[in-house]
């Protein structure tokens, strides 16, 4: 048990030491944070004040002839009674505002980090970012919860404890120290202990849950094979086994929680009893009226204990947020600032050159040049010329280098030797990832944003007017779709029930490229996800819409090759 606890603590401390995504944000928006904390502590103090003055009032009024004598406690009861819920409301709003401000900066920074990764080349973006990307939304939510449900209540409870200890300390320092021990045990030691014991269980449970999800998603896609196998019980058992493990973990967790809660309840009860006895010793000798303070102190701490009792579960939960922090920190943040990258590359064609794309003795390979053996290069002394206006299909088995060819032509990769020229100009300069105006690049399953049709098209040309957008849509065969859209160009693409078919999505991507007006259009397997009939129709549209441009398409679709001027089959 001790070993596990140490391990838990060590993992947390190393996690936080190496952290770049959570701790640095604590201090940001300090004013809002302090306001939220102050409201929280004041709310807890008011709750204690209400119990304290109520106890005093009830006890004292049994002994006085007129209630007027007790106008101060009466007023306090009313003040605390009204003030506490209002402070609580303010605290909730302020703390949420702070957390949302913070995640707002966090998101912006995350986007910048991903942007840099993406700019540094397609390969790196895929490898480093894909894994974390699936968790990104969840991770940001985790960090919000870590603050709102773990860090914040803990700090507030500690602050309220200080207020209470100070109030007791005015009367008796020794008793204040005794309560300090009680609070240290219940508000610091117990939560840490809970986090160490049950945090690991929660993490394990989350991992199991994810495993179940993936297994079931897999089995759902393989359900037809399972049905043929006739092994229904085995199929159910795959889920049952993991669920059983999860249940066992939760049982163990609950057992710990029950024990902890009961022990903590006993500690609180003993503290109340101690306060009563201490109060009796201090105040009762001075007479029954003075003894009202005893009643006040005995029950005044109860709301504090209620707040502290919630810290154990909160600390346990913190463990489940650790993964998120680790994942964010694993995300390599490249050096340099996002703003430093400018779109560059050639912008005007050389009218005297009849070639749109030209590879001259190009050598290219991925990875570190010094470690790479010469034989492993994807391209070695490769040359190719594509005249202006030609429509070229590029085929080849997977791994043959089709995507590399297109990325080099787009200037997104820079050759190690030789030269790639676009319309007689160099396509790229070393160390830069230009977005040349001469090239429109449509990737494999081009991305459509969950925005309006207009915003999606403007990705191609930010300045395009409505007429240009409509013309582009007509050119790619989406004129009818536009007419059918309830709000025209302002129709959200993926909301409001308007779902585009695969073919329509590809056409929107083509419309973007059309809007870009660049003389060279490069497409990397744009039709991979389409059925054969749609492939044929979209290929026809593509060649018609871009009749006056140079087009290079990487494709697997061998049925429509006859429509191209030229078919290149790459052989590694």
């Amino acid at each position: 048990m001790a070993g596990r606890r140490r391990e838990g603590r060590a993992r947390w401390s190393s996690t936080l030491r190496a952290d770049r995504w959570v701790v640095p944000y604590l201090g940001r928006y300090g004013k809002v944070m302090l306001a939220a904390l102050a409201l929280g502590v004041a709310g807890s103090a008011f709750a204690m004040g209400l119990m304290f003055t109520s106890g005093y009032l009830v006890s004292a009024s049994a002994l006085v002839a007129s209630i007027i004598v007790l106008h101060v406690p009466l007023a306090c009861v009313q003040l605390f009674g009204v003030g506490k819920p209002l402070l609580g409301y303010g605290e909730r709003l302020a703390s949420h505002d702070w957390v949302l401000r913070m995640t707002s900066s966090l998101r912006t920074r995350l986007f910048g980090a991903y942007r840099m990764l993406c700019r540094q080349g397609t390969g790196r973006f895929d490898a480093a970012a894909r894994e974390a990307m699936g968790f990104l939304g969840e991770d940001v939510a985790h960090i919000q919860n870590l603050y709102l449900r773990c860090v914040f209540p803990m700090v507030v409870a500690w602050g309220a404890s200080l207020v209470a200890l100070f109030a007791i300390g005015i009367v008796s320092v020794p008793f204040s120290l005794l309560m300090l021990v009680e609070i240290l045990v219940t508000a610091v030691v117990v939560p840490l202990w809970s986090a160490a014991v049950n945090g690991a269980r929660i993490e394990r449970q989350r991992a199991l849950r994810r495993e179940r999800l993936e297994l079931l998603a897999d089995d759902a896609s393989a359900a037809a094979d399972w049905l043929l196998s006739g092994r229904r019980d085995d199929f159910l058992a795959r889920q049952q086994a993991l669920s059983g493990q999860e249940r066992a973990l939760e049982r163990a967790r609950n057992r710990f929680d029950y024990g902890r809660d009961i022990a903590q309840a006993a500690l609180f009860a003993l503290a109340v009893a101690a306060a009563a006895l201490w109060g009796a010793a201090v105040f009762a000798p001075a007479g029954a009226f003075e003894a009202s303070w005893m009643c006040a102190f005995a029950i005044g701490l109860m709301p504090l204990f209620d707040a502290i009792a919630l810290l154990g579960p909160a600390a346990e939960e913190a463990g489940s947020h650790r993964d998120a922090i680790l994942r964010l920190n694993r995300l390599a943040e490249p050096d340099g600032r996002c703003g430093g990258l400018r779109a560059s590359g050639p912008s005007t064609p050389d009218p005297s050159c009849p070639l749109a794309v030209e590879f001259r003795d190009v050598t290219f390979g991925y990875g570190d040049a010094s470690k790479r053996a010469r034989g492993t290069a994807v391209m070695d002394g490769f040359s190719l010329a594509i005249p202006v206006g030609q429509k070229v299909a590029v085929l080849g088995r997977s791994g043959a280098g089709k995507s590399t060819l297109v990325a080099l032509a787009a200037g997104r990769l820079h050759p190690q030797a030789g030269e790639v020229r676009l319309f007689g100009r160099p396509a790229s300069r070393p160390g830069e990832t230009p977005a040349s105006e001469l090239v429109a690049f449509v990737q494999q399953d081009a991305y459509l944003f969950n925005l309006t049709l207009r915003e999606n098209l403007l990705v191609g040309d930010a300045e395009a007017g409505d007429e240009a957008l409509e013309a582009a849509l007509r050119a790619v065969g989406l004129g009818e779709l536009l007419a059918a859209m309830p709000r025209g160009l302002d129709t959200p693409l993926l909301e409001g029930g308007i779902r585009l078919s695969g073919g329509e999505r590809t056409r929107v991507a083509l419309a973007r490229a059309y809007l870009r007006k660049s003389p060279l259009v490069l497409l990397d397997e744009p039709f991979a996800a389409l059925d054969e009939r749609t492939q044929e129709a979209v290929t026809r549209t593509l060649l018609e819409a871009f009749a006056d441009r140079t087009v290079v398409v990487v494709t697997h679709d061998e049925r429509n090759l006859g429509r191209f001027d030229r078919v290149l089959v790459l052989e590694p």
Binding site: G55, L57, V58, S59, S61, A62, L74, V82, L86, Y89, L93, S104, T108, F111, G112, M133, L136, A141, E214, A217, A220, S221, A222, A223, A224, D225, G230, R231, L236, N254, Y258, D261, A265, A266, A269, A273, A276, L277, A284, P285, A288, A291, I299, D380, F382, L384, A435, F441, A446, Y447, R512, E532, R533, H556, E558, L561, G562, V567, V569, P572
Partner: protein
């Protein structure tokens, strides 16, 4: 307030009754706790020695611990029942997934289905675990405690009792409002936090168009807009909680003030008054707990609805209008006699043994007819090719023939298994199926290959893998047959996955009927060429039905069936149909285009200077 659907699950009523009993016991302990502390303080303030207060204080500590322990017990009862219910629901869903060959998950996708069956059932569990004790405490802890308060001091009773209905009313009203605004905020939240994810996913596209710089600013703006929208809704959404807090706190304060007045005029004793003061927060605690967990249970309620929809849903599709299928009652009446030919006893009639007979089969999905009046005869050992444009119904016909779906009219009969629903299961034992994109289970290679025949020996599995040309892959794996593939394991290429599915079919000699749904459609030409020998080997000695669009495959088949818009339009040998097939099937490979073969290493072509190439 209590979801009646929950009572329908086995054991929930008993668990609820137990929770109610425990709640009653908690109420008693709460009263004991308050009375004990009040009497201890009463004794101490009267100047009695500490010894006199020892017993009541000990009682106070004891009662408080008992209350806590009873609460834990209640949680345990509810938790055990909640697990049982969630497991039952999950088994139901997963069973449904199995029985429907995955169609139950087709509409929302495998991932969404999995998340409903795992996360959704877990939310239902949380819902049940929270609701049972909360509802029990509301009725059997709060009410008795309020009665105690009233008995001790009727004025306090009136104050608190006045708060409760107002609170419940507020709760219902604001709960509804908070639900509406929470839903709105949630949809907005998911939209805007979606905008962030959306932007990250679309980054390669943005970079390709050089628009990523401006987009960063829009992410920030969207995030700020989200914060403002959330704050606006939070102001309303947290109001219900704040009002409840206000009501409960004010009730406590009012009770304290009124007790003060009544103590001054001597109408209550200190002991009674202090007991009431301590009891009021305890009495209102179940109400607070219920309110604070209210939002947490909304998810569970919603999940329960969706799970139940899926569990009860998926009725058999009726045939769409206008199809030529047989009427639904075809299974009875005079036809029965003629169909008896399907029964094993009569199967020996005729020399060419029939493997499968399709009689007027029709099928609809979402009301749209996909197949109508398809009648086919598949003789034992024959090789039949299904050709037709995409959408002609090839895949649907294959899954009907493989027994994975039922026709909405007509029937499929096999001499070995007979006709009808029960026969399907027996028929499926003889069938293997290779789809366009074969599924790879997240399991070892052995388990993947031995899916149809878990008892297969390593030697058999290895032999099957060698037959489909995966022997080299296997030899290169350090863990051999134990290598885990699929998600989270070693990734397989499309061609490898297809061959793995073929090996699955080969490992079980009892499965002598092979259905292939364009097994090479998802791989490139080169991979297809590599796969061909394995496919042909798998076809040897089996009855085969294969959907394809490649002319080159047809030479290996003795029958071709041409489908168009869900109907059989032609049937015959490949030779006899040569005239039609050209229009339906794709030209071969790279034929039809003059292809240039380029080597990326060392090919030399024209330069800008020396002009026109190709």
């Amino acid at each position: 307030m209590f979801d009646g659907r929950l009572l329908g699950f086995s054991g929930v009523r008993a668990a609820l009754a137990l929770c109610c009993l425990l709640a009653l016991a908690m109420a008693a302990a709460c009263f004991g706790q308050s009375a004990a502390l009040a009497s201890a303080l009463d004794a101490l303030r009267a100047g009695s020695p500490a010894d006199a207060a020892a017993l009541p204080l000990a009682t106070f500590v004891g009662c408080l611990v008992v209350v806590r322990a009873l609460g834990c017990l209640q949680d345990r009862v509810a938790d055990a029942r909640a697990w049982a219910v969630a497991d039952e629901l999950r088994d139901c869903l997963v069973g449904k997934l199995f029985d429907s060959a995955g169609r139950v998950s087709a509409r929302q996708g495998a991932g969404a289905f999995a998340s409903l069956a795992v996360e959704g059932c877990s939310q239902v569990r949380t819902y049940l675990r929270l609701t049972l004790p909360r509802a029990a405490n509301l009725a059997f802890q709060m009410v008795p405690l309020l009665l105690c308060v009233t008995a001790l001091d009727w004025v306090s009773g009136v104050i608190v009792a006045a708060v409760v209905p107002v609170m419940v009313f507020y709760l219902a009203l604001l709960g509804k409002q908070a639900k509406a605004s929470a839903v709105e905020q949630l949809s907005r939240g998911s939209y805007l936090s979606g905008h962030f994810l959306d932007s990250v996913h679309g980054l390669p596209t943005l970079v390709a168009f050089g628009r990523d710089g401006e987009w960063g600013a829009s992410v920030r703006r969207a995030s700020e807009r989200f914060r403002e929208a959330t704050m606006a809704t939070l102001k309303v959404a947290t109001l219900s909680g704040a009002v409840l807090d206000l009501g409960c706190t004010l009730a406590g304060a009012a009770v304290a003030v009124m007790l003060g007045f009544r103590l001054v005029d001597g109408s209550v004793s200190f002991l009674g008054a202090f007991t009431v003061l301590l009891l009021v927060p305890l009495a209102l605690a179940p109400l607070r707990a219920f309110a604070s967990d209210f939002h947490a249970t909304l998810d569970g309620r919603e999940s329960l609805t969706r799970v139940l929809e899926l569990v009860q849903g998926l009725p058999k599709e009726p045939c769409g209008v206008g199809d030529g299928g047989l009427p639904e009652d075809a299974e009875s009446g005079p036809r029965e006699a003629s169909l008896r030919g399907c029964a094993p006893s009569a199967a020996s009639a005729g020399s060419a043994e029939t493997m499968l007979r399709c009689e007027g089969a029709a099928f609809s999905r979402d009301g749209a007819p996909i197949l109508s009046d398809v009648s086919l005869l598949v003789p034992r050992g024959s090789k039949m090719a299904l050709v037709g444009r995409s959408g002609a119904g090839k895949s649907t016909l294959l899954s009907l023939m493989a027994g994975m779906e039922e026709p909405c009219a007509g029937r499929l009969c096999s001499p070995a298994g007979g006709c009808g629903r029960l026969a399907q299961a027996r028929w499926r034992d003889r069938v293997s199926f290779v789809p366009q994109n074969a599924a790879v289970l997240a399991a070892s290679i052995r388990d993947n290959v031995a899916l149809y025949r878990p008892c297969a020996s390593d030697g058999q599995v290895r032999r099957a893998l060698e037959q489909v040309g995966l022997g080299d892959l296997l030899d290169g794996l350090p863990d051999g047959l134990d290598t885990v593939v699929g998600r989270g394991g070693r990734a397989l290429s499309g061609g490898q996955a297809q061959r793995l599915a073929l090996a699955r079919a080969l490992v079980d000699p009892d499965r002598d009927v092979l259905f292939l749904d364009e097994p090479t459609a998802s791989v490139d030409l080169w991979t297809e060429a590599e796969m061909a020998p394995a496919l042909l080997r798998a076809m040897e000695g089996r009855t085969v039905v294969m959907a394809t669009h490649r002319l080159s495959w047809l030479e290996h088949f003795d029958q071709v069936v041409v489908l168009e818009a869900g109907r059989v339009v032609a049937q015959g040998t490949p030779g006899s149909l040569a005239g039609i097939l050209g229009g339906v099937c794709a030209p071969e490979g790279l034929a039809g285009a003059a292809a240039e073969h380029l080597s990326l290493r060392g090919a030399l072509e024209g330069r800008c200077g020396d002009g026109r190439q190709a």
